[in-house]
Symmetry: C2
Subunit: 233 residues, 2 copies
């Protein structure tokens, strides 16, 4: 009853499988589990303390999100990273995020404005406290995610929002990868503030242009700094 190290423990989701999916997702996005790394059941069982079938269910979830690939009868592995995939991903993100942004600006109410403003404020504070390496800060990453989520949260499109979330995770993995090699993070606080102002000011065209170039330049930076570790595709 006292051994908790190997025993699976629920923290997040209600079921063990969704909880393990959550933890696995995190390890993949942060590249603790490296691209192409094969996910053997014995090893996973050891580190997550769950049984074959529970792990299998968690992996199935991540396959659907594009973070894991299944080679039938030959197991699972962490999805590879390639330049081609990065381009594909970036294109899809821009298409969807721009649409969500425009409709969020149309429909956003007072609560939406508050969510956007307060998450940006929190983000700025974190950057003030640790101006050097905020991009590798776990708290910054979570808040950064919340800010972008807040921007599109009034769009009223559950389907596209769900897709957007998967794509955001996949993109964050690439960002983390490039952060390992990039000397210093570029100053993003300005971009985020401009985004907030355009959104709250209901300047839809401007906000869409900003989000488009925000995603595009981030992707370009990843391609530049992570080129070494990304396979040719």
């Amino acid at each position: 009853m006292t051994t908790t190290a190997l025993k699976a423990r629920k923290e997040f989701g209600k079921t063990l499988a969704s909880d393990i999916a959550h933890r696995l997702r995190n390890e993949i996005v942060t590249c603790q589990l490296k691209p192409n790394e094969s996910l053997k059941f014995d090893a996973l069982r050891l580190s997550f303390g769950a049984s074959f079938t529970t792990l299998r269910e968690a992996l199935t979830l991540l396959v659907a999100e594009g973070l894991v690939v299944a080679e039938e009868q030959r197991g699972y592995k962490v999805a590879p990273v390639t330049l081609e995939d990065l381009h594909d991903l970036t294109h899809a993100r821009i298409l969807i995020e721009v649409d969500l942004m425009r409709r969020s600006i149309e429909k956003g109410d007072d609560d939406w404005e508050i969510r956007v403003i307060s998450s940006l404020h929190r983000l700025a504070r974190i950057e003030e406290r640790a101006p050097e390496d905020y991009a590798s800060n776990t708290e910054w990453k979570a808040t950064h995610r919340q800010f972008h989520e807040a921007l599109v949260s009034a769009s009223g499109s559950p389907t596209l929002l769900a897709v957007r979330n998967s794509l955001f995770d996949r993109a964050e993995r690439y960002r983390n990868l490039s952060a390992m090699f990039r000397p210093h993070p570029r100053d993003k606080v300005g971009e985020h503030r401009a985004l907030m102002q355009a959104a709250i000011g209901r300047k839809a065209d401007q906000a869409c242009d900003l989000i488009r170039s925000h995603i595009q330049t981030t992707s370009n930076n990843v391609a530049k700094y992570a080129a070494g570790v990304i396979s040719a595709g």
Copy 2:
């Protein structure tokens, strides 16, 4: 050794779970399994002849595709159909399909043209043979799917194509639902032919307009004829 009725049999995918997902998907899309119907494991085990965990994996897959919803600790059920969901779905489909169409027209090579032309030809032949009720014809449905898939198949975007496929399934369920109540299917052969001609003729703007209105009017028809069986949302 001779009893095959209850024994699970692989037909499609390599693993039993993906095969069962395929069969379940089909039953949901064709509304043999009705919206909101609860998917109890005992019943599924009986009709699919697989064990709890295998079924669970298949269901997890379908949850990711939006055809099944999971209520944690309280089982699975067929995703509900609502007017709100139909609108959301239609919006997402137009956004994605238009983008894929434009890029397919840009990049499409000779093989692409052949795929588009031959699938349209097959579709027209089926409609000739059974002009009355082709829309409830299984072969027509499969060919119709292939035609639309062919149109966007040269886009070179695995991510958006995967999303498109899920959305197509979800939309087909609504189409099947409305077909139960619609007196006679409207004549679609003209629309499909125009779509083909615009695509092959590399008239991108025109093709995008056509696909947009094709999806939109289909959705409007569904809303009109299936309003009775679709919950208010």
